[in-house]
Symmetry: none
Amino acid sequence: MDFTILRPLLKPNTTKIVLFIIDGIGGLPQKQDKQTELEVAKTPHLDALVKESICGLHQPVLPGITPGSGPGHLGVFGYNPIKYQVGRGVLSALGINFDLGPHDVAARGNFCTIDKQGLVQDRRAGRIPTKKNIELCSELKTIPLPNVDLFVRPVKEHRFLLVLRNEQLEGNLADTDPQELGKPPLEPQALTTEAGLTAQVVDQFIDQARHKLEPHYPANMILLRGFSKKPKWPTFQQSFGLKSAAIAAYPMYKGLARLLGMDVLQTEDTLEQRIHTMKTNWDTYDFFFLHEKKTDSSGEDGDFQRKVQAIEEVDQHIPQILDLEPDVVIITGDHSTPAELKYHSWHPVPTLLWSKVCRPDAVTSFTEKACITGGLGPRFPAEDLMPLALANAFRLEKFGA
Amino acid sequence: MDFTILRPLLKPNTTKIVLFIIDGIGGLPQKQDKQTELEVAKTPHLDALVKESICGLHQPVLPGITPGSGPGHLGVFGYNPIKYQVGRGVLSALGINFDLGPHDVAARGNFCTIDKQGLVQDRRAGRIPTKKNIELCSELKTIPLPNVDLFVRPVKEHRFLLVLRNEQLEGNLADTDPQELGKPPLEPQALTTEAGLTAQVVDQFIDQARHKLEPHYPANMILLRGFSKKPKWPTFQQSFGLKSAAIAAYPMYKGLARLLGMDVLQTEDTLEQRIHTMKTNWDTYDFFFLHEKKTDSSGEDGDFQRKVQAIEEVDQHIPQILDLEPDVVIITGDHSTPAELKYHSWHPVPTLLWSKVCRPDAVTSFTEKACITGGLGPRFPAEDLMPLALANAFRLEKFGA
């Protein structure tokens, strides 16, 4: 929703909202028994809650579009994922918990292989081991760049993060990755006049990187993509008037939350511990983003049974959340990750919204099929959830007289 | 819907459309038996009609947004309530049946209390009795303003309507209400150059009002909000090709109808009489907007049982409407007013559309829960209704070849 419509309607209240994102929750039926992960899982607590809730399935981005974690979360956070796009460089930084400053330009880097003519032979340098990547990044970060602070951080295999820090740098640069074999890496090219200096700096960096990497075949060159600065978006507080906390274990989700100005709470890896963190911070915040990752990682591994277990583990923790007496609880995912596909998918995501005034529908179990007949609809925009949460928390004034 | 798409498709016909707005019809389950007003009410005629209808719930404005009566009605009338916003001054005029002309600037006024330093002590002057308000308005309307016709009309308690009439006046003026105590009333400020003269006139008026009100503590000053002129919108006839009549008892709804160029028919206060008015005018119009208020006022009073009765009274009158043999009947509300909340709410509004060609769905009772599975969807935009009404009345040509 357009924030300019919502903002004048925001009113303070002491109500508490919990948004529980069960990453990749939606699934597909198994070939044999035709049941999805949610249908197979025993979820007595979710099924009890669903009877008092309004349900549906949200469409994370647009019909047929499979979202990455960034757009998937942003939609549920009420930020239209088409309008609010994060550069790949920034996402890389979020993913390894690199705290980007306002003057940082970030890019996603690949080590690659070039032949004697300088043409790209392998865009991923044969997926070198991460250990080698760490060694190469240590070399690259010694490259001297006048007046620019340089950060080079290893990610996994052939991937690294490049960050350049200087007040005069801009992110509007074309990728240097030609995306095809047999072509040379592209020259860094400014897409706006403001980015001219950045292009020069990147050019210097690449020149010296090429020299330093020469002896390290197959990782004898780099390709850079997704140059970007931390976006200047309205914060979650500005958009929704909520003092908000993120309780997540993985860097990517913490980073996304930090991007919106949420406080990222120190927590541990189990759901039990994360809920405990929520409990100890209950009085300090209006809004809690709680994240569970196992449902997605088991889905990506194609491990149907492990995803069922992850769902059942979530279910067992529902009473602990309700014990905190939140005013509004939303349970959903950022996207579907069917074990059958071993990957994120475009399928709408089961959602329940509970409050004392939510007007429950007739849905009695928290599954893909059951949610289709829910009051939120079978394919509602993910960004509808935050305004609905605010309404159910009595945090919106009437529109018009 | 964009009128420019609809307009070239409009075709004349002799068919009749009845739009019956049961104000605030949607509700919430009571705490004890978990049933809504519509679920408790005995509505045999609505239930019979619903079986031949297509149903759903409309979302009046946007998800989570609670509409005032203005936006609530405009949406159902097919006018996007975000695009077509009415100023508070104009709404005030509509609410007391003041017939605004094209050169009138209207503002909502409050009597307020200022201290010796001229700072606002009470924005509502202790909610003075309406009788006092009437007395003060008589004084204010004697203020001489060169070349400007002045109207000052009491509303309730501390509220009044100010109307200034002159061809050169414009509505783009900032509020003089500082919205905070301990601050002086703001100077009237033109937001466009065209409104410069208006700001001067308002300044003169306020100066003299301050002088006249001095002896009337606590009502010793005024605050003005929502300066606006009657909007120049396409009429209902232009938008939908329908000669239309409004049959409502309350000034606000008559005013809204008049704003769209509907003929407002002289009628009495009972539903029986309003339906009789429709009958006597049946041959003269293509479209009838029939309004029932009791469902909303009982909801606002938090009187669940009285709202149930109001619904049952509506139900008993359905046969009289059908006896007129309309071609299309839409029954819905402008918003929900759950007795449980004693206020308008954001919840979607139960809707049925009947015609001989509506393609009925499987819904068998006119309740919030039952309508979720209807063919119109559980949360469709209110402005979808008018194009659907036109289609069912065979008043739209095919789009494209």
